[in-house]
Amino acid sequence: MFTTKLFLAIQWGDVFALIGICFTIVLCIMALFVLILQLFAKVSKKKTVGQPKDNEKQIIEKNEVKSSKDTKDGEIAAFALAISLYLNEVHDNESLVLTIKNKENSNWNNLNYYLQ
């Protein structure tokens, strides 16, 4: 009896609306997270892909400031690249399980029978 009353007392419309709002918030946070990761990946790709030409290399070397901030950025870029590569990897996955159990000496191709 008590449960039936409770069931009837609940405003189901509000409950569904609340669930919807929560779900949307979670979805937005996840989307934001993915976007940030992709951004990192793009930045790191720009840094790694395409080797600078010799003269560019010299300019970069001249202007290079070896600071802890730079190192930190580099590390973040490397992590982002690794995550990006992992997420974007496409493979033709196979079972990699060998189920064929060969007999040691099969009469089918016994060399004594069929080699003259």
Binding site: D92, L98, K103
Partner: protein, 519 residues
């Protein structure tokens, strides 16, 4: 007392026989950096396994002062023993006895072990170190050689025959090793030629050293007579043992299978990126082979000869296989006369002794030009095709990149009874490469364009069209000429599974006396 004396006589005679040509000659042999015949056998065989035969044989010639020169064993040590517990028959020529020269009795000893090897289905290993025929014996010595040759021929394809050249090997003596399956030579101490530098100088006026005429590197890189070159005798004998581990006792047996310690499901991720983006760029096929095979172990045969094709022994899941692969790092992996001969010889050896063949294809075609045509690229290329078509052992082929024209057919294609033919997504299976094809297919249009810039643009566009249509494995796959297109990193597992599926393969050629390979 009488028995004691008899035993003492036996012991003394054995000791005398073991001294070969005597302490002085043994010392001289060592001074040349060479081992004695018995030291070689001891290194080759499992410890304590050697049983010597015909230790007390001597020659019966009295002419030219030979009557006084009697040595027990007569210059060759023969017998049987084991390598990793497997029976093997051995003969080892003793240079300390009359220069290891071949006499009638000496030849008879060699023939005896060869006959026993044939009766018992065991390989024969010959350790050659001989000055040649024993001239004092005349035609008897020549007959002795011919007896050995005949046995070499009869044993060919029945039991494996290996030859190590550990000293001189000249004149008719060269033909016995030449009739065997593999020849090993050692730097600085071995040489082989039919006629030596003196005869060459007299007959042709050519002034040439022993080393340049018949040294190990000459035969390993130019003539292709030597399959292996070692730095020293110890290395050569270790190589003999290694080869032995890949081959069976005879044609009715399978090669020994060893316990595999390399996971069969090991993914080879590096292979996904090993093919350069530009199809004109080379890469080292040895990197592919050593990645695929068990524990990266690959015994390369003919390493210095025809480097545009790589052949050798390896294992997949503990099973011995012969690997044949084009080498893009040398002449772009093109097939020429030497590469065709090298490949054909190896394929036929594998087929003789039930060793499955794994072929890795990246071949741009046959080498063009008059040198090749005059040299007989037609009949030599046909040898490789013949060898593949004739082989009844399991044949697994993987096309990595290029597979163009006639060379595509030659390299174990489906129609030459390739059992399982795979291709990587980077494979380009076509009649010819893009530039050649566009030159022919669009010749009229190209000639009609006057502006060089526009012509180049047109050619580039047509080449791209050609690449999109033909430079992929799917045309061949569409017709079933490629059984499957596989991701490079899965190749090891796919080869292992293919070999397992083919383990009970039975294939026979039509009845005949023998084939007529275009020699």
């Amino acid at each position: 007392m009488a028995i004691e004396n008899n035993i003492k006589k036996l012991v003394d005679m054995r000791a005398e026989a073991r001294m070969g040509g005597g302490a002085k000659r043994i010392e001289s042999q060592h001074a040349k950096g060479k081992l004695t015949s018995r030291e070689r056998i001891n290194l080759l065989l499992d410890e304590g396994s050697f049983e010597e035969l015909d230790m007390f044989v001597t020659h019966s010639i009295t002419e030219f002062g030979l009557g006084d020169k009697q040595f027990l064993g007569d210059g060759v040590v023969t017998g049987f023993g084991t390598i990793d517990g497997r029976l093997v028959y051995v003969y080892s020529q003793d240079f300390t006895v009359l220069g290891g020269s071949l006499s009638e009795t000496n030849a008879r000893k060699i023939c005896k072990v060869m006959d026993m090897a044939m009766k018992n289905g065991a390989p024969v290993i010959g350790l050659n170190d001989s000055g040649g025929a024993r001239i004092q014996e005349g035609v008897l010595s020549l007959a002795g050689y011919a007896e050995i040759f005949q046995r070499n021929i009869e044993a060919s394809g029945v039991v494996p025959q290996l030859s190590a050249i550990l000293g001189p090997c000249a004149g008719g003596a060269v033909y016995s090793p030449a009739l065997t399956d593999f020849i090993l030579m050692v730097e600085d101490i071995s040489y082989m030629f039919v006629t030596g530098p003196k005869v060459a100088k007299t007959v042709t006026g050519e002034d040439i050293t022993v080393e340049k005429l018949g040294g190990p590197m000459v035969h390993a890189s130019k003539s292709g007579v030597a399959h292996f070159v070692s730095q020293n005798e110890e290395e050569a004998i270790a190589t003999l043992r290694k080869i032995f581990s890949y081959i069976p006792q005879n044609f009715r047996e399978n090669p020994p299978r060893i316990e595999n310690t390399d996971p069969i499901d090991r993914l080879c991720d590096n292979l996904n990126t090993i093919i350069p983006e530009s199809s004109k760029k080379p890469y080292n096929i040895l990197d592919v082979i050593t990645t695929l095979v068990d524990n990266g172990e690959f015994l390369e045969v003919h390493k210095h000869y025809a480097k545009n094709i790589v052949v050798g022994f390896a294992r997949f899941n503990g099973q011995s296989v012969g690997v044949v692969a084009n080498q893009p790092n040398f002449l772009a992996g093109v097939l020429d006369i030497e590469a065709s001969r090298k490949g054909a010889r190896f394929v036929r050896f594998c087929d003789c002794f039930n060793i499955p063949i794994v072929t890795l294809v990246d071949v741009p075609g046959f080498l063009p030009g008059s040198t090749q045509e005059y040299g007989g690229i037609i009949s030599n290329g046909a040898k490789l095709m013949f060898a593949y078509g004739e082989a009844t052992v399991p044949k697994v082929t993987v096309t990595l990149r290029k597979s163009y024209g006639g060379a595509h057919d030659v390299m174990s294609c489906k129609q030459l009874k390739g059992d399982l033919n795979y291709a990587w997504p980077t494979a380009e299976i076509a009649v010819m490469g893009d530039s050649g094809a566009v030159e022919i297919l669009n010749a009229k249009e190209i000639n009609a364009i006057e502006s060089e810039e526009e012509r180049a643009k047109f050619i580039e566009q047509k080449e791209q069209e050609y690449r999109d249509t033909f430079a992929n494995p799917y045309q061949a796959a569409k017709h079933g000429y490629i059984d499957d297109v596989i991701e490079p990193r899965n190749t090891r597992f796919r080869i292992i599974r293919a070999l397992a599926s083919l383990a009970t393969k039975k294939s026979m050629m039509p009845a005949k006396k023998h084939t007529n390979i275009p020699l």
